[in-house]
């Protein structure tokens, strides 16, 4: 009878201890029982399967320089990078069935440095789409897909409650169907700011700031649905198209000049993906909008916070859309904030692990890496002596707060920039 490794206590597998399995003494030899298998052929059919897909072509271009590995956030906590994916696929390993398929967060740091432009942002969704069609999807991601399809948001909350957060806003939040007039700004709130308790904190802060600044805006309320972009990157292109169609119809029902977006993923969706479906309108992330209002906002920021703050660049605001300065300008405008930069910042910013579907693959990723990307990032923030880890992506607050707890760094405060601005605003308790 064979004994599976899961039945052997790890501490028994050492050189010192004696280990006898089925009467055979394998003490100190357990890891030398297998000879390396000789490579006797390269089964290129797996690579062909990937490169035959529209979007998958560039995997074949890799010439193995390994620049990607040096900046891949997943490799830092595991054994993964585009170079390794190319090599494994070239060896005949099936990417469609491999856990590797779900580890990429589409953070774009590999593409930034790749001399051959091997584009994981195209490759991963293309292969994942096939895996989704074949029903080969990690269960937790499948649940997020189903919740999104059923409720219009990946949290599985009822659509009719999407605007309930405004009761907690502490400021009037105009909903477009009640406003009945054109507005300057359509504020796309997003799923996490609408439903997640910590997201609601940021949304409420935004509402108070907009009110204080006299911003003319309206929200879609229960007519708003998830943008669907992260689901698309995780392989659910059909779901994305369905959501996009519904959102575009809702956007076009009302008259507005510009759309302000809370989250970088949604910003990316409306700026870069929805135009492919015919929706081309001016889009702005809230950090850039508030920078436009900074002359008016600055005198209102009267309460000093006296905190050492570091800023985490969201991949989809920074690398994907080139915005690095607006969040920093806002943080510097807050009295008493000392801004410190982490080693991995701006173009080389580390990834929180939430992009490309990673938001809904937490347990899966954890099982295949040494630690969560968010945990690695929290450790870096602490290493640089920050009191506060500031963010401006709704995925991140909960991710980093969980990571701060799980790594024992409970003292690290995680705040959306909106919350910090709101806290410094005059008249706030």
């Amino acid at each position: 009878m064979a004994v599976g490794l899961d039945k052997v206590k790890p501490e028994a597998i050492t050189e010192e201890r004696q280990l006898i399995v089925d009467g055979m003494d394998i003490s100190g030899h357990w890891n030398r029982m297998f000879e390396q298998r000789v490579i006797w052929d390269y089964d290129t059919s797996q690579l062909d399967r990937v490169t035959d897909l529209p979007g998958g072509e560039s995997l074949a271009w890799c010439y193995g320089c390994a620049k990607c590995t040096g900046v891949c956030p997943v490799d830092i906590v595991g054994d993964y990078s585009p170079r390794k994916i190319h090599r494994k696929t070239q060896m005949g390993i099936d990417l469609f069935e491999s856990p590797d398929l779900w580890l990429c967060t589409t953070c774009r740091n590999c593409l930034r440095v790749c001399p051959k432009e091997v584009d994981m942002i195209q490759i991963m969704p293309a292969v994942r789409e096939q895996a989704v069609l074949a029903g080969s999807v990690p269960a937790e991601l499948q649940k997020a897909f189903e919740d999104t399809a059923k409720h219009g948001n990946p949290l599985g909350q009822p659509q009719r409650k999407r605007a309930d957060w405004i009761k907690k806003a502490g400021a009037p939040v105009p909903v477009l169907k009640d406003v009945k007039r054109p507005v300057d700004l359509l504020w796309y709130v997003g799923s996490y700011p609408s439903y997640h308790p910590r997201g609601i904190d940021a949304a409420a802060a935004a509402a108070r700031i907009f009110h204080a600044l006299g911003v003319d805006y309206g929200i879609l309320g229960i007519e708003e649905k998830d943008d669907g972009d992260s689901q698309r990157l995780a392989g659910e292109k059909g779901l994305f198209e369905m959501l996009a169609e519904a959102n575009i119809a809702a956007f076009e029902k009302y008259t507005w000049n510009r759309m302000v977006v809370t989250g970088p993923h949604e910003f990316n969706a409306f700026k870069n993906e929805y135009p492919k479906l015919g929706f081309v309108r001016p889009i702005v992330h809230y950090t850039r909008l508030l920078v436009e209002y900074l002359d008016r906002l600055r005198p209102m920021l009267t309460k000093p916070l006296n905190l050492k703050v570091t800023f985490h660049d969201p991949c989809y605001l920074g690398r994907h859309n080139g915005e690095y300065d607006a969040p920093r300008q806002l943080l510097r405008a807050i009295p008493g904030v000392e801004l410190v930069e982490m080693g991995r910042c701006r173009e080389n910013g580390y990834c929180c692990g939430g992009g490309g579907g990673g938001m809904w693959l937490d347990s899966f990723t954890k099982a295949h890496t040494t630690m969560r990307l968010s945990e690695r990032r929290v450790r870096e923030a602490v290493e640089y002596g920050a009191d506060v880890l500031a963010v401006c992506c709704p995925f991140e607050v909960s991710r980093f707060e969980d990571a701060a707890k799980s790594t024992g760094h409970d003292r690290l405060i995680v705040r959306d920039i909106l919350e910090l601005l709101d806290q410094a605003l005059e008249g706030q308790p």
Partner: protein, 355 residues
């Protein structure tokens, strides 16, 4: 009557060699050089030893310059540029301008050899690569040549001898994003040559070369690569560096050791970027003035189907050296010889036909 003078543009290795050969045939040559000195990049950029052969660049170049200077049929015009050109093979009318004061001169030439060379890739171009403008101790091959020539290979920020030196290959070459998709051919050899020189001058230093592929074609393999590894103990590591970060007063190079499949984060005192070749500003300008077709990378285009590696898109105008693409000195000198012969035989043929 066709003109019998041959105009050579560029006073670097290729232009000098072409001028020397045509002059030795007793024919009239006008050699135009934009700089105030002859010798091209090896002299202007203070090269140390030549790759390969390890001969002093200054000494070798002085020999070629001396031969040109001593030849009475070669008319050298320093500080001059070609600003206009019309006509055709056998009858080019060229306008020359003195750099700076704009004084002009009209020439008549039967054939033209373009030898305007290359320039080193600037690691600060477009995107800041490896913090070249940020870190004093990140230098280029050209910077290293100067230090090696002066026998003072030091940590630039400290002025002391380095303990750990590395070279990063393919900087500005083989890169679709930068736009230079070609291999610059010589950087593997030059890095290895410099690694040997560093080990000769600073025997206590550990020297690493991080590479994607070592492209040591022909004799460069046995004359440079193997001695570097075997005699001078230069450590070759397959896997390119992605980024350089500063930690504790030292530079940390980060990347992947690909044969081990493991990440690396290695401290260094000096990092040398093996920058590749780009067409020089003179090459691009001369191509424009002479109306020569340039390839995708703005080197002068050679129609390869003609089996003539010195031909350009305009009959009667020939190209030699790195103006036509990355080239080592052996190939440059050989090409200069071929271009000299093409230009000379063309002028002779046209003269025969006219007679």
């Amino acid at each position: 009557m066709p003109a019998d003078t041959i105009l050579i543009i560029g006073g670097g290795p290729a232009g000098l060699e072409a001028a020397r050969l045509i002059g030795d045939l007793g024919r009239k040559v006008i050699l135009v050089e934009k700089r105030e000195q002859l010798g091209g990049t090896p002299v202007a950029e203070s090269y140390a030893a030549l790759t390969h052969g390890f001969r002093s660049a200054e000494e070798a170049m002085n020999e070629v310059i001396g031969a040109v200077r001593a030849n009475p049929t070669v008319d050298v015009r320093l500080g001059s540029e070609v600003v206009a050109c019309e006509g055709e093979a056998g009858n080019f009318r060229v306008r020359l301008a003195k750099s700076g004061n704009g004084a002009g001169e009209d020439l008549h030439a039967g054939a033209i050899v373009v030898a305007t060379g290359f320039q080193h890739f600037d690691p600060g171009r477009e995107t800041q690569v490896y913090g070249y403008y940020e870190y004093d101790d990140v230098i280029t091959l050209a910077d290293a040549e100067k230090m090696l020539k002066e026998q003072k290979f030091v940590i630039p920020s400290k002025g002391t001898a380095p303990e750990r030196v590395c070279f990063i290959q393919c900087v500005g070459s083989r890169d679709r994003q930068i736009g230079n998709e070609y291999c610059s051919k010589v950087c593997c050899g030059i890095s290895s040559k410099q690694a040997i020189e560093v080990r000769q001058q600073v025997p206590g230093a550990k020297v690493f070369i991080f590479y994607i592929d070592m492209r040591m074609y022909g004799y460069w393999e046995n004359e440079i690569y193997w001695p570097a590894q075997e005699q001078y103990r230069v450590q070759y590591v397959k896997g390119i560096i992605t980024e350089i970060i500063r930690k504790g007063g030292r530079l940390l190079v980060r990347g992947e050791d690909t044969t081990m499949g493991r990440p690396m984060e290695v401290p260094m005192d000096v990092v040398v970027l093996a920058v590749g070749m780009e067409p020089s500003s003179g090459t691009k300008e001369v191509a424009r003035v002479l109306g020569l077709k340039q390839n995708k990378y703005h080197f002068i285009d050679v129609p390869h189907d003609s089996l003539d590696p010195t031909a350009t898109s305009r009959p009667g105008i020939f190209v030699a050296g790195a103006a036509a693409g990355p080239k080592d000195l052996d190939d440059t000198m050989a090409m200069a010889g071929a271009a000299a012969m093409k230009a000379t035989t063309l002028v002779a043929r046209l003269a025969r036909q006219a007679a």
